[in-house]
Structures are given as C-alpha cells and as structure tokens.
Amino acid sequence: METLIQASYLIAAALFILGLKQMSSPVTARRGILWAGAGMVLATLATFLTPEILDSPQSTTNIILIIVAIALGGGYAWVSGKKVAMTDMPQMIAMYNGMGGGAAATIAAVELLKASTEASHDVTGATTIADALGADVAILGILGAVIGTISFSGSIIAWAKLDGRLNRSKLLPAQHLVNAVLAIATAGFAIAIYFSADLNTIITFYVLALILGIFITVPVGGADMPVIISLFNALTGLAVGFEGYVLGNAAMIIAGIVVGSAGSLLTQLMAVAMNRSVANVFFAGVGTTESTAGGDGTEGVMKEIQAQDAGILMSFASQVIIIPGYGMAVAQAQHKIWELTQLLTDKGVTVKFAIHPVAGRMPGHMNVLLAEAGVPYDMIYDMEDVNAEFKTTTVALVIGANDVVNPSAKDDASSPLYGMPILNAYESDNVIVIKRGRGAGFSGVENPLFFADNTKMLFGDGQKAASQLIQSVKEL
C-alpha cells in the first residue's frame, strides 16, 4: 500500500513538472493544466489510502471530516473561480494563494500541537519541540509556519486592496519601524518554540506572524501589487515544500520547491520590468512617497481629436500599433478594439498589439484579457520585439495605458518612473490616446507624451470611443 501511494506521488510530481513546462508555451498550455490537474486528483485519491490515516483511532470521523472539508473548500473555490471576471483574476489568484499558505501554516500548527502535547506529557522523554520532532523537522516546520502564515495574511490584504475593499496605505506612524520590531519579535518566538513546548508561545508566535503579514502588505502601492502576489506565491511554494519535509511527503517537497524557485524568478522578472527592486517595493511605494517632480514637468496643451478624424487617420495608415492598458479592460473595450482591428486589417492596414510587461495588473494579464476578446496571440508582441517598429508606424493607438508610454522614464531623472523600460509610442508619426479624463495615471505621475506635438487626445469612455472609431472606419 505504501509503495502504491509513493508511486502515485511520484507520478503526480512528474505530471506537475511536465504540466508547468507545457504551460510555458501558448501552443501546449491548455494541455499543461489538464496534466497537472490529473496529477492532483491522483495524489488526492492515493492519500485516502495512507495507513496512518486508516489506522488512526478516530479514522472514521477524520475521513468524514476530510471529505466535508474538501467539499466545502473546493466547492467555494469552484464557484468563485468560475464566476470571477478576467479583470479580477489577479486578486483571485492572491486569494487562492493565501489559502495555500494558510494550509501550510495550519499543517505546521497540527504538528507543533502534537509535539507540544508529547513533550508536556513526557511520554517519550522529550521536553522540547526540538526533541519531539527532531532538529531538522522542527526547524523546517517552524520556518514553513512563519512563511505560510505571512503569505496567508499578506495575500488576503493584497486581495482586499486589489478588490477595492482596502484603500489605506498606512496603518501606523513609523510603519517600517513597527514592522522591523514585529519581525524581530516573530523570529524570537519562532526560536523560543524550538526550545520549549509551551502552547502559549506557539499561539503568540502565530498571532505575531499574522499581524506581520498584514503590516508588510498594507503599505505596498497598488501598482506594485503584482510583485507582492508573485512573491507570496513563491513563499507559499516554499512553505509547502518545508511542510512536505515535515510529513515526509515527496510530492509536496518537489511541487513546493519547484513553485518556490519558479515564483522567485518570476517575481524578480516583474520587479525588473517595473524598474523596482523587490526590497524597494516593500519599503517605498510610487505615489505614496510625496513626488514633487511629477507636477511641474509638463508644459503645453493637450490637442484633442474627434473619433471621425482618428478613424480616417487609421484607415489610411500602413501600420497601426495598439497599446492597451488596464483602463481598456476596466471600460470593457477589448471586444470593440478587436472589432476595430478586424476592420482595419480588411482595409489592408497592418495592426499589432504591443504589450508592456506590466500592462494590466500583472505580467501577461493583458494577454489574457485580449485573448478573452478573441485576439489571436500571434498578433500580440512583447515590448522588446515591437519597440524598434514605432519609428515606421503611422499611428500608435494608446487605450487605457499611461505610465508604460511615459517618455519621462527615459529622459527625466527626477521622475519616479525614471529608468523603467517603456513602449516607444512617442516615436510614431501619430499618437492617438483614448483617455477618460485629463488626470494622471495609476501611479499619479504626469505624462508629457499627452502634450507632445504628434499626440492627439480622444477623450471619452474607452468602450464608447472604440465604438465611434468603428463607426468612422465603417463609413469610409
């Protein structure tokens, strides 16, 4: 029986790795998640046969509890996952990730509780958690508990912030100092657990780690959220791997550590794309630091264009590059934009979509939103592949994007965006910007592109403006 279970875990781990591998190409991605899903089902079913579970004195009650918990947790996740809009995907991933972190932390809690009972009753001569579990298991178990708990409460905050339920960026004065003290206190209690078996120490430790996760995440700015979610994803993976060691479960170790390292790299890639260091994301947020440079860097007036003229301009263009931003998705304009693209293509115009690495709420989010509208992925280009083409482009159509086309990032050292790679829309013959109003972007930084000589502003709601453009192109 033991061999059968171990074999199932091995196959599951292989399916996870192969599945993730296939998910890294758009052609095989769909198959990848199906494989990984099969691995999960196999591992879950095999676990029901675990001898320790079947031989446990309370086996019947426990198995019923397991089934009820899977039905409740899985049922909730199934319904919410099917319902969630594509624009809200990042916060939903944060939520499910937080649940994983919480699961790792609670597994550790069960183990610590068992060890604490054992040590305090002096059944095996063990008097501390370290004695009861063994040094390696105790250390990794406690580490997994810290990481999982922080990932749990932090992810919930990330979810609340992205979902618009929490807008505060500050809880206390001198937040960073408080966080530092809290982090030291959490570490202190973590070490104390190792050398004792006291239940209150364990409880205090969990409470501190929960608060720490909240306090770390609250000051992080909205624009930096993807980095945080990705980081918490990696951390949950790590916590799962550590708890896998505690339970001697190879599938958990492999899957957890694979996700931990893949997630760390992904976090790094995102931070680089946004020109932020991971440390920077935690200790200062764009927009939360008072930026004096943003306000006075802009001169001149915005030039307006009517949808009809914009439509004519694009119809006779040789190449149009569309730069979509999160604003487009909020206005639900992606379907209209795809319709416009098809009309222009019929007129012989080459249309491409240019995606900044951080367009949308996280890297690749915009691709998901465009795919939802039906845009084929081979019309969508990454920043590096498309940036050289703006010089030979007739019209760059910016819709709902702002910071990712802000030339200050290149030439204004005082701008908070300085150094961030941008899409070189300003090099096109014409830039048309569809924008709801005249305000600054997500990060609160002014954009000189809107005042440039070759830029025309098409003010209005994204969806309505796109409809007007379609109308104009059709009439020609």
Partner: protein, 104 residues
Amino acid sequence: MIEGLAAIYIFMLAGFTGYEIISKVPVILHTPLMSGSNFVHGIVLVGAMVALGIADSTAEQIIGFIAVLLGAGNAVGGYVVTERMLEMFKPSGNKAAAPKGEDA
C-alpha cells in the same frame, strides 16, 4: 521517508527545475503560469489530509479541518482559474477548429 542528504538533493534539483521552467517562458504566459504554479502548490491539500487524518484530539481536528478546507480551496480555485485563462489562448487562422479538437 525522505531524510538528510536525500532531502537536500530533492530540494536542490527541484529548485533548478523551477528556475529552468520559468526562464524560457514568454511574457504573454506569465499570468497563467503564475496561476498554474499557484495551482501546483495546492498539493498542500495532500499534507492537510494527512494532518487531519492522524489527528487525535479535538483541537487537532479543528485545525486540521481548516487546513484541508484551505488546501482544497487552493487546489480547486487554482485549477479553475488557470484552466479558464488558458482555454482562451488561440492562434489566428483556424480559430475554432484547432483548440476544440484537442479537447477530445
């Protein structure tokens, strides 16, 4: 059981594997891949099941129950959203035919 040096080998090799997988991924798949890796650590469900399965006090059962609840949420939610996102990716040209055919 996996212990000592064997565990360190697994940790190391799994670490390299994760790094390799992500280093070649196009930006367009970052969100689905993050979501996919989020699903994969849903394997924590298995550990949660063992923790609850071997619980022998009420306190352990309550905490274990929460663990399974959360783990199942991670696994199922992660799968559903990843699958929904990846379902939409398709190349231009034969729009309807290719992805549908693969399902069967």
